[in-house]
């Protein structure tokens, strides 16, 4: 089921879509987050940042940015 990263459960996730301009896409892709990439959500703060593991390193993503990343749980 499609969800944004903020609402998604703490699990392995596949990035389906990133709702943002080219700057955001660039910023995220440099850290390894792009359409099709596999990430693992570790935890999220209520109305705060989400921490994900990507390419074997951990990254904190701010609240409004996390709403723009659409993911699907990877079984």
């Amino acid at each position: 089921m499609e969800k944004n990263l903020y609402d998604a459960p703490a699990a392995k996730l596949r990035v389906l879509k990133i709702l943002g301009g080219s700057n955001l896409l660039k910023k995220l892709s440099v850290m390894g987050i792009y359409e099709g990439s596999l990430i693992e959500k570790k935890l999220g703060y209520k109305e705060g940042p989400v921490i994900v593991k990507v390419k074997n390193s951990e990254v904190a993503i701010g609240h409004s940015m996390s709403l723009k990343i659409i993911v699907k749980e990877e079984k």
């Binding site: 660039k26 440099v30 792009y34 705060g48 990507v54 390193s57 990254v59 993503i61 940015m65």
Partner: protein
């Protein structure tokens, strides 16, 4: 031979740097920015090398100031060899920048650092295979203990005798997504991750990022840091710097006082009266403020900050503070200058450079100057109000805090744009290396001495000139009726306020002889705390965020201070204090 050190942030670049250059290095500012670059000299084999520590970068596409500076240095090509450092724990992520570097076709060596930590965490890397695939020398190292550096030295020797090719010819796709594909294939061939029981540090990482535990832990860390800064800072002042100044320095320079015949010159150099803090002499008050009042706090502050930085806690603190910070127009990282400003504004202002946008800097600077009286000021306010019920002290700080929050809330609405979103790497914890911490401390103290001390002394000189020209007296006469009518304060204290920004903590004690009532004391203290930053922070602010922005910040401060001082006096009277 000129060598540049490159790599992602948090890969241990500065440790490699100090291992190569020893602990002698100079920090120099990259012109037009607030980015500082370390340059050192090393003798490797028979070869004299100049080594340049380039700021950490995730990619040439990066947008931050540090990343732009790094990209421009690397792309300029004005060097002989690139040593790129990768973190064995996040090799995959690190390879993106590594591939970007290889596509420049410059002589390159890769160092894969933190080999020991990666092994403990179950990460196995086939370095030989990686080297073959990328056609570049790949050396595993443990920078903290110097393991692997002999291999590096050999490679550098080989390079200088030109008996091996160091320019990779592997074809690299130009766009980022294709690079990630290539990296995926490389990783599947060279890296195996086996499951291991989490190490102690890994358990601590989980504990201090899980919200329910992280927030109380964060509060404890902040309070403890604050207490340690104060303990070390005050200890140094009372037991070391102040006695040295009063018992040795002052009596010594006082002997030279009579060598100068001109009274005017004597006043400027030695001050009008023999009390070090009041005379405003360049070599009395100037030296006292720089070395006895500010330096000990800068020193203790950087010890604590360096420790939190090296262990890897600051990004976690930024995560915890993020939600609250966004409400007042900042992101989590801005909490850090703010917390620093509680100790002493000078290091707080220095740390504004971790923020990228001007907007963030203006809001954080205004908030810091309003909300966070430095430790000496806080101590003075507490002591001045101590003869009244503790409720008033509490009320005072509560009001100060509320004013800060309201102001940045309003600034957030007024200033164009919105606060940038947090997007940072959360590095694994590391046990700090003492030698490295001391090295960083030294660099920072030298920077403070270079930046802040001349500024303070210059400022005191300026005050003297203004005083001689009768300017200060005029200002205080001009404001006297204003104090009387608007703030209901005795007009005499305007003279204290006119020069109060020089030494804000001391100026609060100057209020005592006027026998002010409780309301007058609270109102005038509030004004003294907020109306202007102290001389040292004013000078550092100008240097750090530029003339225009610091002018804005000081105007914001002054206007907010006038409005809320007025409001404070009305509120206090209304509630019949």
């Amino acid at each position: 031979m000129k060598i540049i050190l490159t790599g992602n942030p948090n890969v241990g670049k500065s440790v490699v740097f100090s291992k190569l250059c020893g602990y002698e290095a100079i920090s120099s500012n990259y012109s037009g920015t607030t980015v500082d670059i370390l340059i050192g000299k090393a003798k490797i084999g028979n070869c004299d090398c100049e080594i340049i520590d380039v700021p950490g970068v995730y990619s040439f596409e990066g947008e931050s100031v540090a990343e732009k500076v790094a990209s421009s240095i690397i792309k300029k090509g004005d060097y002989d060899l690139i040593i790129n450092i990768l973190d064995a724990n996040s090799l995959e992520r690190n390879l993106l920048f590594a591939l970007e570097l290889l596509s420049l076709r410059k002589p390159t060596i890769f160092l894969v650092n933190k080999y020991d930590i990666a092994r403990n965490r179950g990460i196995n890397i086939d370095f030989e295979k990686l080297s073959k695939i990328l056609n570049v020398a790949v050396i595993p190292i443990i920078a903290t203990i110097g393991w692997g550096f002999d291999v590096l030295e050999n490679e550098i020797k080989n390079f200088s005798f030109k008996n091996k090719n160091y320019v990779s010819d592997v074809s690299i796709p130009p766009n980022t997504l294709d690079k990630w594909k290539m990296i995926g294939q490389i990783i599947s061939k060279v890296e195996k991750i086996e499951h291991k029981h989490p190490t102690f540090l890994e358990k601590l990482e989980v504990l201090t990022t899980t919200p329910s535990m992280a927030i109380p832990f964060g509060i404890i860390v902040i309070i403890a840091s604050f207490w340690i800064v104060r303990f070390i800072g005050e200890g140094l002042i009372n037991n070391f710097f102040d006695p040295i100044f009063n018992n040795y320095y002052y009596p010594l320079i006082d002997k030279f006082r009579n060598l100068i015949s001109s009274d005017l010159l004597k006043n400027i150099i030695f001050g009008k009266n023999p009390v070090a803090m009041e005379g405003f002499g360049i070599i009395t008050t100037g030296i006292y403020v720089s070395f006895v009042v500010v330096l000990p706090y800068v020193f203790s502050f950087y010890i604590v900050l360096g420790f939190l930085e090296d262990i890897g806690y600051l990004p976690r603190l930024a995560v915890i503070l993020d939600r609250f910070s966004h409400k007042i127009g900042l992101h989590g990282y801005s909490g850090i200058p703010l917390i620093m400003g509680l100790g002493c504004k000078v290091p707080g202002i220095f740390s504004l450079r971790i923020l990228d946008s001007n907007r963030d800097k203006i809001i954080a600077a205004s908030l810091m100057l309003l909300i966070a009286p430095c430790i000496p000021q806080t101590a003075m306010i507490i002591s001045v109000l101590s003869k009244y019920s503790i409720i008033y002290t509490f009320l005072f700080f509560l009001y100060l805090f509320a004013v800060g929050i309201i102001t940045s809330f309003i600034l957030n609405k007024i200033l164009k744009g919105s606060s940038s979103d947090l997007f940072i790497e959360i590095p694994p914890y590391h046990i700090p290396v003492l030698k490295n911490m001391l090295f960083k401390l030294k660099i920072r103290i030298i920077q403070f001495l270079k930046d802040a001390v001349p500024a303070v002394i210059g400022g005191i000189f300026l005050i003297n000139i203004l005083d001689i020209l009768g300017f200060i007296e005029r200002i205080s006469l001009f404001f006297a009726p204003f104090f009387k009518n608007i703030f209901s304060l005795p007009p005499e204290i305007s003279s204290i306020i006119a020069i109060g920004f020089l030494k804000k903590d001391v100026s609060i004690t100057f209020l005592v002889p006027f026998n002010l009532s409780l309301i007058e004391l609270m109102v005038s203290s509030f004004f003294l705390v907020t109306y202007l930053p102290c001389l040292a922070s004013m000078m550092v602010l100008r240097k750090e965020i530029g003339n225009k922005n610091s002018f804005y910040v000081m105007c914001i401060n002054f206007v907010v201070s006038l409005i809320f001082t007025f409001l404070f006096s009305i509120l206090l009277k209304f509630f019949g204090v």
